[in-house]
Amino acid sequence: MRPDLGDILSGIQRLLTNDLVPALTATPFLAEQAMYATLVLEYCKKAWPGLHLALAEEHGDLLATLGTAAERLAQDSTAHALATAIRGELDGDVAGVTTSTLDVLAKRNESLRALVSRAIELLDAGTEPAAGSPLHAARATIDAYLARHAARQHRELELLGLSW
């Protein structure tokens, strides 16, 4: 349907750049804010088309990571309760990625990410897990997820086009 989201965001950008910014020459601070607003709108234009795919990718990664982490945590008596909680959450995961709206999927990812946080808290609570132990393996699983999560965040940032 036209105007689509891209048309609308582009229109607001044109309004800011062509009309508002030139009218704000006497107030450089506001002119700069308007320029930042166009930068953020450009990010929205680039991020929006891929947002569902990005959330779906993260969702899949979280399910796989937590599934593997739960298996490993279950092998250590101090982590049994958390492993059970994670499995309970995963068994109840009914967020079909193709049928969920963006906000529902984002909220679901947030809940799953909170479980990753709980696993990190547990692994940080005692001494560093010994190499070869189930907790050490769980740590490796979680760390690998963190690296992929950072890479996804970095891809998002690249859409902003701001670097130094």
């Binding site: 601070f29 990190i120 808290e121 560093e128 979680i142 690296a147 970095h154 940032l157 701001l162 130094w164």
Partner: protein
């Protein structure tokens, strides 16, 4: 009444003269305070006094909620100790005169820089700034702060107290302001907990010592060190770690100025102390999660609709850079997709 008129009224009352305010303009940057530059003129007998000032007013919402009184006290002390800082002329903690608390300080000569020193500036200029940057830091750390009236600042003293307090402070801010879980930052806080370093001596730490927070002249000589709102007693390595953080670096140069090795060697010469590289690393990790916590405070302000500044949205998106840098500092690299 316009802010400029209210300011003129306030200054007239303080100076007992009719003060004219001109050139009043809000300055970009200064994300923790609204910053305005202005000139004030008034008569003292037959003489006309003209001075440049900076107004720093608390914002409705900011990336950093800091204590105005502490900043005022440390600026007063820094000025008394002969450090290149602006003299604070008036501090107003009530919201009556300008709607929110503020302070007015003298405007010092010099140009600001962005958070990384611009790569396009002449090499000699960059060399001068790099030299002054570490020389001033050494002066800050060597200064006799305890001779000043700074009882409001708690001193953690030797041991792990300084690191402990810094980690606790920024974790509390993170937990208070996050809008969602950030496992990468939590991994960072966990690492910090396990690696708290001990310091043999504490000193005043600037707390935001980096490119972007000083003024310099055309030759690159630093004329003023600004933004003391995060100053506190702590481990001097904290300032080094913050200054050398990847977030402020560009093309392998800390703060855009020189390599971390060169910066640290220069600090050692200027301060006459040995730098503990492991502690610098610890404070780079701390600095990265601290910057993330500061960013999340801004994101919360934006998300809660207390601020409409799009820069806060940009700052939030820059968390992606901080996450990558944090994992690199922790030695956690990229990995293939989960099986």
């Amino acid at each position: 009444m316009e802010l400029q008129e209210r300011l003129a009224g306030y200054l007239s009352e303080k100076l007992g003269a009719d003060v004219r305010v001109s050139g009043f303009a809000r300055k970009s940057g200064g994300a923790s305070r609204e910053t305005y530059l202005f000139d004030a003129a008034w008569q003292e007998g037959s003489r006309t006094i003209e001075r440049g000032y900076v107004l720093r007013r608390d914002p409705v919402a900011s990336v950093l909620e800091s204590d105005r009184t502490l900043e005022f006290r440390v600026l007063e002390a820094a000025h008394a100790l002969g450090l290149p800082t602006p003299k604070v002329s008036w501090l107003e903690l009530t919201s009556g005169p300008l709607e929110r608390p503020f302070c007015v300080m003298e405007r010092l000569p010099g140009m600001p820089t962005p958070p990384t020193f611009p790569a396009g500036y002449p090499l000699e200029m960059r060399a001068n700034t790099a030299a002054d940057f570490m020389a001033i830091l050494a002066r800050i750390h060597r200064a006799d702060w305890r001779s000043q009236d700074l009882a409001v600042f708690a001193d953690p003293g030797p041991g792990i107290g300084a690191a402990r307090r810094a980690v606790d402070r920024w974790r509390d801010i993170y937990l208070q302001d996050r809008l969602e879980p950030h496992p990468i930052l939590e991994r960072g806080f966990g690492w910090l907990e396990r690696n708290l370093p001990s310091t043999d001596a504490t000193t005043m730490v600037h707390g935001d010592y980096r490119s972007g927070n000083y003024l310099h002249d055309e030759a690159g000589r630093i004329t003023a060190m600004l933004d003391w709102e995060m100053a506190h007693f702590g481990d001097p390595h904290e300032d080094l770690g913050w200054a050398a953080m990847p977030y402020w670096s560009c093309a392998g140069r800390a703060g855009g100025l020189e390599s971390e090795d060169e910066m640290i060697a220069r600090y050692e010469r200027e301060s006459g102390t040995r730098v503990d590289r492991a502690r610098v690393h610890f404070y780079k990790v701390l600095g990265t999660v601290k910057m993330a916590a500061i960013s999340l405070t801004g994101v919360r302000s934006y998300g809660d609709a207390r601020s409409a500044e799009p820069t806060l949205a940009v700052v939030g998106l820059l968390l992606g850079r901080l996450s990558t840098e944090l994992l690199t500092l922790l030695g956690i690299g990229a990995a293939p997709a989960a099986a």
